[in-house]
Symmetry: C2
Subunit: 422 residues, 2 copies
């Protein structure tokens, strides 16, 4: 029983041991296609084995386990129609993944359920493990939760989304794995009974590590714009073209890279801007770059700031290009608005974290998560735990089960406060 | 006969027609491996056919034709031991080459010999077509003339230089083509009797076109340094890493690219600096660049200025890297000193060009040429003709046979002045 609003004491050491055991067990050869990295994608035997592992574990706790028509995993301890509080994440991996990303959130959801029973809280709970968050099987990120949120079309599922490995449609793979993709609209119902939702995840950044915090309470998931700036100049001979006769697209790109950094800093409130791809043609040591493409990744919790940076960098690039006899054009690949977390739930997590006496911070998630799709219908929040050097999507990914156990305690405290307010 | 020192009148229209006929003939299917581009490399049937074409043409003029032990082509109208004036270039092509680069210089050497006979000048002449200038057969630029200049070792020829297409050594290919590579040191003798040397070539830049000149007299071939700057930062997540926690190697590279441009301009006297290659890792839109490599191509007629730019850009990159928590290191690939042309010969060409009444300029060659290897032993110079938009090493390469004919006239004038001074 919670000893006061927002605080639950659990046996942190035992929880850390069980979390560690689950995470390490799921690195076994049944659960990954590769011995060097975690490789686990939707509808593959390794993924099936992982769902079976969780099915067994939740059934042991007396939960009812089901999978929705495309394979999102659900475990709950109340009958359909009764309100439950949601916890979970995803257990598929990046193509060259580590053991913690996603899986830790499902393992901690399991530990929330275990600890709730063990400490006599008997909270009404529903765990979800969303399908194909990483997009490693079908090239589409947060696919399972987007299906739940109705953010994909039937045509996409039938014809446009193909397996990376064999090129065949999602639809066929889902049917072969025993699912009924034609009933995909019913996936939305897995959120019907949720009174709230909390996802625990490794941070995938270095803020918690570098500032010495054990937990992060996420107040918003950043929105982002992905786009490209293409600059067209002239690919003249590097030796035979005097400096004042050039139309060098590479120098314009360089100016734009520096300006993007300046604009993101100036925008403030957590806005970030990155050029992660540079493509240069012809790409020869002795040729002036005739064409250069740079990618833009601009994110932040305030959509206006993000779009302001994009607008300004586009103008800057065009001006800089014109000054050098080149041309610049911007094209957008994708834009996703920021997702603010539920204020009451964030406050409950902050209260529980404070009550733990451990160091934490309230922060923004720069990365995308399934919680973005849940938050549309359900009051939602996230808890981050530190990961070593901010590394993720690599076999070198590392995190501390003791931090995860602390996260479980804080989540339990917050749920207790929300379910039995006051 | 020359009507005055440095001026010879030839039938420019007839010369232009013959030049055009030769250049166009050598685009026929016997002379190129590809219908889309000129592809003609040492020891291939297309190359053999091209040498046979020139053999026939020079024999018609009464010249004695020979090939040195590796296949550099020689045609002369005086017995061995008598002084002759050298003209020529190369007739191999780039892998995706045009019809003018190199070949035009051999064709114009032939036209110099034809016109000398036709106009009763009877100048003592020796034409050379150097083997494998482009490096398209064996990946080594100016290979034939470097062998003549003794700038390669026997070990390189025997073991280290391999055909791009089949990986077998230069040595074997030379033997199979009927040459005697073991006698490669004797190749040096093809320069023994030369009292001077002039190579005509397309400019490979846009200076002549854009300034409305028909000819360029080359006063120096630029020296150059090829190198790389590698910057190592941290490949953090683009969304999850605040602007002030980054070690972004891409931004340091961008600053270095802009500084190189500034340094090259500041160095003056024709120094140029180019970043033509940018390699970025991991190269993902949502990852901060952990490692970035940029190539450096710095050239100019003054070696001190070139090396000063390299020294300064290395220092700059290290400072800029340190300011952002990254590291930069410079490594040199290759350095070649500048090759000044012979002053008397340049003056003779300028006088002949002036006498023609046509517009010309004295300029630097930013690109490397066989003449660099000849100039060590023989007073040498070059004449450039405009090429459309500075394009070379592409099937779109284009030049005007009338400009080439003017070049032939100017070369004949200069040789006349040198051979019969005053």
């Amino acid at each position: 029983m919670p000893d006061k609003a927002g605080h639950v004491d659990i046996d942190l050491e035992r929880s850390a041991e069980r979390i560690d055991h689950d995470v390490q067990s799921l690195t076994g050869s049944d659960y990954t296609l590769s011995a060097e990295a975690i490789r686990r994608y939707a509808y593959r035997p390794e993924y099936r084995a992982t769902l079976d592992y969780f099915t067994h574990a939740w059934q042991e706790l007396g939960f009812t386990v089901s999978e929705d028509p495309v394979g999102n995993f659900v475990a709950r301890n109340r009958p359909p129609g009764e309100p439950v509080f949601g916890v979970g994440s995803h257990c598929d991996s990046n193509r060259n993944g580590g053991r913690w990303d996603g899986t830790l959130g499902v393992v901690c959801a399991l530990e929330v359920c275990r600890a709730s029973a063990e400490h006599g809280l008997d909270l009404p709970l529903q765990a979800i493990s969303f399908l194909e968050e990483e997009g490693s099987g079908f090239g589409q990120m947060v696919l399972g939760s987007r299906i739940v949120a109705g953010r994909v079309s039937e045509q996409e599922l039938r014809e446009q989304i193909h397996a990376i490995d064999d090129g065949r449609p999602f639809w066929e793979h889902a049917q072969e794995a025993g699912y009924e993709p034609a009933r995909w609209r019913e996936c939305a119902h897995i959120l019907d009974d949720l009174s709230g939702w909390i996802e625990l995840h490794i941070e995938q950044g270095r803020v918690l590590q570098d500032t010495g915090r054990r937990l992060g309470v996420v107040s918003a998931i950043a929105g982002y714009v992905h786009g490209d700036i293409r600059i067209t100049g002239r690919a003249d001979h590097a030796g035979a073209t005097p400096m004042d006769m050039r139309a060098d697209s590479g120098v314009v790109a360089a100016e734009t890279i520096i300006e993007l950094e300046r604009l993101a800093r100036a925008a403030g409130s957590g806005t970030v801007g990155t050029v992660g791809e540079i493509e240069i043609a012809p790409g020869l040591i002795n040729a002036i770059p005739g064409r250069t493409r740079i990618s833009l990744d601009v994110r932040g919790p305030e959509d206006e700031a993000v779009h302001g940076v994009i607008r300004d960098i586009e103008r800057f690039a065009q001006r800089a290009a014109a000054e050098r006899g080149t041309k610049a054009s911007y094209s957008q690949r994708q834009t996703v608005p920021a997702t603010p977390m539920d204020e009451r739930l964030v406050a409950a997590l902050e209260a529980a974290a404070s009550a733990s006496g451990e160091s934490f911070t309230t922060m923004i998630s720069g990365a995308a998560h399934d919680t973005m799709c849940v938050a549309e219908r359900v009051p939602a929040a996230m808890v981050f735990v530190p990961c070593r050097d901010g590394l993720s999507h690599t076999p070198e990914e590392d995190a501390n089960p003791a931090d995860a156990a602390l996260g479980v305690q804080v989540i339990l405290g917050a749920i207790s406060a929300m379910v039995e307010p006051g």
